[in-house]
């Protein structure tokens, strides 16, 4: 029972903090999708559609929108598990306050991840509302992109938390964003099919969790779900989540219990 309740108590801390800033984040959760979808889906999309050569044979807006949603989930999750984790260890030392009470280092970790999931969930729901308003969600399966976004989120936030609890210097995060997150955002099937990449890069894209997330989101919003590939993508994201969870649990243990 405690293993369920105690992470929720740690989670309450993050909610209390979030209560002070949530209005600002709701704004960005709605404004960002509008900007991206307008520029890429509507602006660039109009030109792409005129070529009669749009990827997947659907309007480019419909093609790019689920990719953007998936990529946003990746970014939110990665950011929320980088600096905040390091802060809770080194700067505000909030985790140290938690583990001085009945909470364990595992509770501190799980409670924080519950909050990351909350953030990913709410921003994905907002994203879905925006792209639906743009008419980019032809299928009712599209509703399922919200839980899928959460799974994309955990596939990134767990390994990121594992790393953040190990490194000493926050410049590591900048490096990760510059050399991993941004390339994944651009080249993992978000804006164009990875089959257009040189073979080596194409294969690399298949290894990234985000490609699987983008594919899954796209088949849901377009209503082109094929069970086999859908399960494969889900399993791959789940694998990253579970391995990340275990690694993070160990990192937290090593770091907080000296």
């Amino acid at each position: 029972m405690d293993s369920v309740l105690q992470p929720l108590r740690a989670y309450e801390h993050w909610l209390a903090q979030y209560r002070r800033v949530w209005r600002g984040t709701i704004g960005t959760s709605l404004v960002n999708p509008v900007l991206y979808v307008t520029a890429l889906g509507v602006g660039l999309g109009t030109i792409v559609d005129q070529t009669q050569n749009a990827p997947g044979g659907v309007p480019y807006l419909d093609y790019v929108a689920p990719g953007l949603l998936a990529a946003a989930a990746m970014q939110t999750a990665t950011i929320e598990s980088s600096w905040p984790v390091m802060a809770a260890i080194k700067w505000s030392r909030v985790y140290h306050a938690m583990i001085a009470t009945p909470l364990t280092e595992r509770d501190a970790f799980v409670g924080h991840q519950l909050f990351v999931i909350t953030r990913v969930f709410t921003s994905a729901a907002a994203y879905l509302a925006v792209i639906a308003a743009f008419g980019a969600v032809p299928s009712w399966f599209g509703v399922l992109v919200v839980p899928v976004a959460v799974l994309i989120g955990t596939a990134f936030s767990m390994p990121m938390a594992a790393l953040a609890a190990r490194v000493e210097d926050d410049r590591t995060f900048v490096t990760i964003f510059r050399f991993l997150v941004v390339p994944m955002f651009l080249f993992s099937g978000t804006f164009f099919p990875v089959s257009q990449l040189p073979l080596g890069f194409e294969l690399a894209a298949y290894v990234t969790p985000i490609w699987h997330g983008v594919e899954l989101c796209r088949m849901l919003t377009l209503g082109t779900v094929e069970l086999g590939p859908a399960l494969g993508h889900t399993a791959y994201l789940l694998a990253w989540t579970l391995v990340g969870f275990e690694l993070a649990r160990r990192s937290y243990r090593r770091r907080l219990l000296g």
Binding site: Q6, R9, E12, V94, A100, T101, P102, T104, G258
Partner: protein, 306 residues
Amino acid sequence: MSESLIHARGLVKRFGELVAVDGIDLDVKQGEAFGFLGPNGAGKSSTMRMIGCVSPVSEGTLRILGQDPAENGPQIRARLGVVPQQDTLDFELTVRENVLIYGRYFGLSRRELKPRIDELLDFVQLTERAGDKVEPLSGGMKRRLTIARSLINDPDLLLLDEPTTGLDPQARHVVWDRLFRLKQRGKTFVVTTHYMDEAEQLCDRLVVMDHGAIVAEGSPWELIQRYSTREVVEVRFESERPANGVFEGAAERVEELPDRVLLYTRDGDATATAVAERGLPPHSTLVRRSTLEDVFLHLTGRTLVD
């Protein structure tokens, strides 16, 4: 027989090659105010972290409130109050929210917490700042808030790791005053410090730690008796210094420092007179009572540890 709240035998903490705590024995009884005294790096904080059940024991036996930290960490921590060396407050929350969220970690309901928080903020004189964010508070207020927070679960044992380090004298005295009141209410607490006056004011019994080991144990008064004399005469000279050995016999122990000479003696005035009679007019003479500082420096040396 009163049971020990803290019971340690041969307690060891290693960090790789480094031995931070090197086989200490310890018993702290109900109602005691117990102190760890020692220079930086003596192993005080490592010991405290083991007692606080956030650092696994490398070797030896440790029982806190009769339980094994390795088995029952969360159950033990539920009955501890911890004031860590470095603040772990959430600067973005208010004073009240900090205590509330901390109370929630113990599984206390918001309804239970409300009157307790009011009472505790009053106790640490922060009622007027209850709705303010923590960030702009002074160091002393943050420490008092941390103390209030540590009391939210009405702990059986309070652990304070250098509670007044970095505070100005006024703030230190306010913190001491609050701790003294807790002591009067019968709270058991363990405090680490390198301030002798703090140990002397607060502790019924203390141990002096050096290089991971306990080098002395007793009440402040006992330690002074055992390792020092009743009084100390401090004499300073102008540029010219008397020859070595000239103080021989004037006191029980003589310590010659670059800037002054310390004479440990039973009767300070008599010694001061004797020194003057030897034809050595000092620049200044101070007769004072021995303090824990004399004991501490005697036991741990004057060499700077960093």
